[in-house]
């Protein structure tokens, strides 16, 4: 750990040393007295620096002889001091010298030079460029020009593409980050506000709902005037979408739990409050989640009048809309033919099948549905679903129809049909099982072998023995032996006694182990 720190420290020191090196490359601004004098001549007035003429012999100020005010005699420009010096020499033959004053204090020539150099280095003054008199010697003038960074002005940023690009990106980052934080704050604030409002509205809604449900009959509820209704559910509140949402959710939740008269009352109230219109509007929304919400409401509130609008969605390209629309039509429609389901263009997912199965299972306890219509669908997944329905609902009466169709369907469907026969355990349809045992499709053979154990006959046992003689895969062999064991234990025992193959003996041990009955 110490070693790592030492390396980091050394690296930092190295960086610092390099930085000093870079800073140390500063050039000498005024290298000698001649250049300083020339600079003073060119520059004119320099803040903080003034000049005064003094007698070259005794050092007394020349102008103090003529004036009492000490300020008189201070000259701000070096050229003026030179001119004054010349005129004194010419008119009075006075030999004067120029004294340097820094902030009114007498100073030496080197001190003045250092002072001006510092001003230049710090950028407190900018050196004036002498006018190019002849207009030709540009290079020599450029050499005399003091270096100044090109990035000092705003336009310089736009002149350098890389700097511009980086500046734009940093700015965009700040904007993006700012927007994100803003969005987060707004979203959180809205959500908090919404949660508070939901609680408030919920409290406002629960009381009147209970009162209406438990204290008013259906007739009284239907005959309520608008004024009476608005006393419980204020018209002003009903205009608020969030209030309506709470009301709908409450009614839907109660509707799920209630039965009989209460359901009717809730439906009547739903319509009296014109919530059904909002539901209908949702069905026409361009947002899929709104449409699905509308469909759920139609389904839960049993809004039969919306069925036509719902039917428009049963073949929607949106999976969720389609699923909910079919589920709603299944619940509300009086159509026992299931033709809308048979004509579905999109394949059914298992998720959809699970939902439809629940509804159909419930409906089939009240009325007989023509599930056989699904066998004629052009959509294979619908046909497969139909076979599953026979199995799950226990429609033994449709097995004969399935047997009729068996030869003309695909192998995937055959598997599903055999599964149905096996599940229902009706042993009078062995022919399709036996014929499938000889199929070249391994999956179909495995399914048929499995079914043979439940609904097979002597013929099945014979075919199984034939298949076992053909050295099947481990998985198939296990299924075949298991079926043979249930079909004819004597044949099974005879086979395992005769066949000394390791896998046969392993499978036999497995099938004989009471702990592995379900495996």
């Amino acid at each position: 750990m110490k070693g790592k720190r030492a390396i980091v420290l050394a690296f930092l020191l190295f960086l610092m040393a390099q930085t000093n090196k870079v800073l140390g490359q500063e050039e000498q601004i005024l290298p000698d007295s001649a250049s300083f004098v020339q600079f003073l001549i060119n520059q004119g007035e320099i803040p903080g620096l003034e000049f005064r003429l003094i007698d070259a012999t005794d050092g007394t100020p020349v102008d103090s002889l003529t004036a009492t005010d000490t300020k008189i005699g201070l000259i701000s420009e070096y050229t003026s001091a030179l001119a004054r010096k010349d005129s004194l020499l010419q008119s009075d033959s006075v030999s004067a010298a120029i004294q340097f004053l820094i902030y009114k204090e007498q100073n030496t020539f080197p001190a003045a030079l250092e002072f001006v150099s510092n001003l230049l280095r710090n950028g407190d003054i900018i050196a004036k460029t002498p006018t190019n008199v002849n207009g030709k010697d540009v290079i020599s003038l450029a050499n005399k020009e003091r270096y100044s960074p090109t990035l000092s002005g705003t336009s310089a940023y736009f002149g350098d593409f890389k700097i511009f690009a980086i500046s734009v990106i940093i700015s965009l980052f700040f904007v993006f980050a700012f927007l994100m934080i803003l969005f987060m704050l707004i979203f959180k604030a809205r959500r908090n506000r919404k949660e508070v409002l939901l609680t408030v509205y919920d409290e406002q809604v629960v009381g009147p709902l209970s009162e209406i449900l438990f204290e008013k009959s259906l007739e009284e509820l239907e005959s309520l005037s608008d004024e009476e209704l608005y006393q419980s559910f204020p018209a002003k509140q009903l205009k608020k979408p969030l209030y309506n949402q709470v009301l709908v959710e409450r009614i839907l939740a109660l509707n799920k739990k209630m039965k009989g008269d209460f359901k009717l009352k809730l439906k009547a109230l739903y319509k009296r409050l014109q919530l059904d219109k909002a539901t209908m509007d949702k069905l026409k929304s361009s947002k899929w989640d709104k449409v699905v919400t509308g469909l759920v409401e139609v389904n839960e509130m049993d809004l039969g009048e919306a069925i036509k609008e719902v039917q428009k969605h049963v073949n929607s390209p949106n999976f969720h809309i389609r699923s909910q629309a079919v589920a709603t039509v299944l619940t509300l429609s009086e159509d026992i033919n299931l033709s809308f389901l048979r004509d579905q263009a999109f394949p059914l997912s298992r998720w959809q099948q699970m939902n439809y199965l629940r509804i159909i299972k419930y409906l089939s306890s009240n009325r007989e549905l023509n599930i056989e219509n699904l066998f004629d669908s052009k959509n294979q997944s619908i046909r497969l679903f139909g076979y599953k329905l026979v199995r799950v609902i226990g429609r033994v009466d449709l097995l004969a129809k399935l047997e009729e169709k068996f030869d003309g369907v695909t192998e995937v469907e055959k598997i599903e049909i055999i599964k149905t026969f096996e599940y229902l355990g009706v042993p009078s349809h062995t022919e399709l099982v036996n014929s499938s045992l000889r199929s070249e499709n391994t999956q179909l053979v495995i399914m048929a072998a499995k079914a043979a154990g439940t609904i097979g006959d002597e013929q099945s046992a014979k075919i199984i023995l034939e298949l076992l003689a053909g050295n099947p895969s481990f998985r198939l062999k296990m299924t075949l032996l298991k079926s043979l064991q249930s079909l004819d234990s004597a044949l099974y025992t005879d086979f395992v006694n005769r066949d000394s193959a390791l896998d046969t003996q392993t499978i036999n041990s497995h099938l004989s182990d009471p702990l592995l009955i379900d495996v």
Partner: protein
């Protein structure tokens, strides 16, 4: 030098663009996921005869301390058709004996069919007690996690494999929610589904579920909270949006069993077996032109304890890096190969540049800066500007992932926790990221030295997805 400069600038811009794209894609995916969840009734799946059956595979190596509690938790999951297969991978402690006594296990004559090569199985146990009917315990010789999973696959009998770490905490709803993507697709086969993993350090756990979330106490722990949010709520969601997921976490992944067997199961010679399997399964589907999907569920359904100790974390990151390099090396035939569509043209290059090469490129960037300083061509302005941009990007991406967590699940409800996370966001680029880069470089170095991997095989790579099946099995030490 100028060319290198431009290259690094382009790389920086591509990092920025990629991450912004990931943020946008993941936001869209999260929005859709939340909307879909509104209408889903998961209760039906538990009992529906149409729902798929699940085999939970959990390898255990020296897990005696918590194995009984963990198995009980797995057996209590809310689902109709599932089995729990615990694979004791040659533990040196009393993992097996604890299981035997706690669940009244007895050795059986299970007909073990080695469809996928694995180290020898010593025995398969079932319980005499009908309450534990779903439990199967495999006792096998040590062969590593992937090998143990392969043995579990051989014993499994259900349609979907849920491969998990035995010490993971699973939500009761985990199975119902994870099988949903397998049930929803109509035109594509769902071959695998990944789940998000939460960090359980410092959290309260009750009845197998995290009840109170708290951020870990250490900076390394908090960094991993942010990192997991970034990886699961952003990265994986974005890749799931474009069906480009190449990695499903080994701690919580669901796979189509039939396909896993078809491609030859896990490859035990790589330390990145989870990623390697997904890539191989995808290749199999692409090479046969079968439409498929790899899904992802971002809901918090699985939690694990992450290492807060630098030494342990460094080994983990070293392993992850080697796993990534090995997988990319094994499947380099898909690199920029249009036949592999999104995986070849987008996912693979992304993993190569932004995951595998990231630490190397960062090191090169540092060296480049040093060279510039030495030769006196160093521009402090550009350096600082670029540094600020990347620092801001890091903060932006991390904040965004926390925002996701807050908007979607709001698990860290305590304001102090949120503040700590935000503080970590600012500190991470300075104090944690350099370590991650260093550990990643260690992974590269170890890969070059040939540590852990299967040298020649990995250098040669798989020409076809099924080539793994032709590799002779050998036993590895965990």
């Amino acid at each position: 030098m100028e060319v290198l400069g431009v290259m690094f600038l382009l790389l920086s811009f591509s990092v920025i663009t990629t991450y912004i794209l990931i943020m946008v894609l993941s936001a869209l995916e999260m929005r859709d996921h939340r909307r879909k969840n509104q209408f889903a009734d998961y209760q039906d799946i538990i009992t529906s005869p149409i729902a798929p059956s699940v085999s939970i595979l959990a390898p255990a190596y020296n897990e005696a301390e918590n194995i009984v509690q963990n198995v009980k938790s797995l057996l209590s999951l809310h689902y109709g058709k599932f089995e729990v297969i615990i694979i004791n991978d040659g533990s040196k402690d009393d993992t097996l004996s604890k299981l035997i006594s706690a669940f009244e296990l007895e050795i059986t004559d299970f007909a073990y069919n080695e469809e996928i090569d694995a180290a020898p199985v010593r025995g398969i146990y079932k319980s005499k007690n009908r309450s534990y009917n779903r439990l199967v315990v495999i006792d096998k010789e040590n062969g590593g996690k992937a090998d143990a999973l392969n043995a579990g696959i051989n014993v499994s009998s259900k349609e979907i494999l849920a491969c998990i770490d035995v010490d993971c905490i699973l939500s009761h709803e985990s199975l119902t929610r994870m099988v949903r993507p397998f049930m929803e697709e109509t035109n594509r086969k769902v071959i695998a589904v990944g789940g998000a993993i939460g960090i359980a350090n410092n959290c309260d756990v009750q009845d197998g579920t995290v009840t109170t979330y708290r951020v870990p106490t250490s900076l390394l722990g908090r960094f991993q909270v942010i990192e997991y949010c970034r990886a699961f709520l952003m990265g994986r969601m974005a890749w799931a949006r474009v069906n480009g997921l190449m990695l499903i976490s080994g701690a919580f992944g669901f796979f189509n069993r039939e396909l896993v067997v078809e491609v030859g199961g896990y490859f035990p010679k790589t330390v990145g077996e989870d990623m390697e399997l997904v890539v191989r399964m995808r290749r199999y589907m692409e090479e046969r032109n079968i439409p498929y999907k790899v899904g992802f569920v971002p809901d918090p359904l699985c939690w694990t304890e992450v290492p807060e100790d630098g030494a342990v974390l460094s080994r983990q990151r070293n392993r992850w890096m080697r796993g990534t390099i090995e997988t990319l090396q094994l499947h380099r035939v898909i690199r920029l190969n249009p036949s592999y569509k999104i995986m070849g043209m987008m996912s693979y290059p992304y993993w190569s540049v932004f995951e595998k090469m990231a630490p190397v490129l960062e090191l090169l960037g540092l060296l480049y800066t040093l060279v510039l300083i030495i030769i006196g061509d160093f521009s402090a302005f550009y350096f600082i500007a670029l540094f600020i941009v990347l620092y801001l990007l890091s903060i932006l991406v991390s904040s965004f992932s926390i925002l996701y967590e807050q908007l979607s699940y709001n698990n860290y409800k305590d304001k102090k926790d949120l503040n700590k996370l935000i503080m970590t966001v600012f500190l991470e680029p300075m104090f944690i990221h350099p370590k991650i880069v260093y550990w990643g470089l260690g992974g590269h170095w170890d890969f070059i030295k040939g540590k852990g991997g299967w040298g020649q095989m990995i250098r040669t790579g798989f020409k076809k997805s099924e080539d793994k099946k032709n590799i002779e099995p050998t036993t590895l030490n965990s």
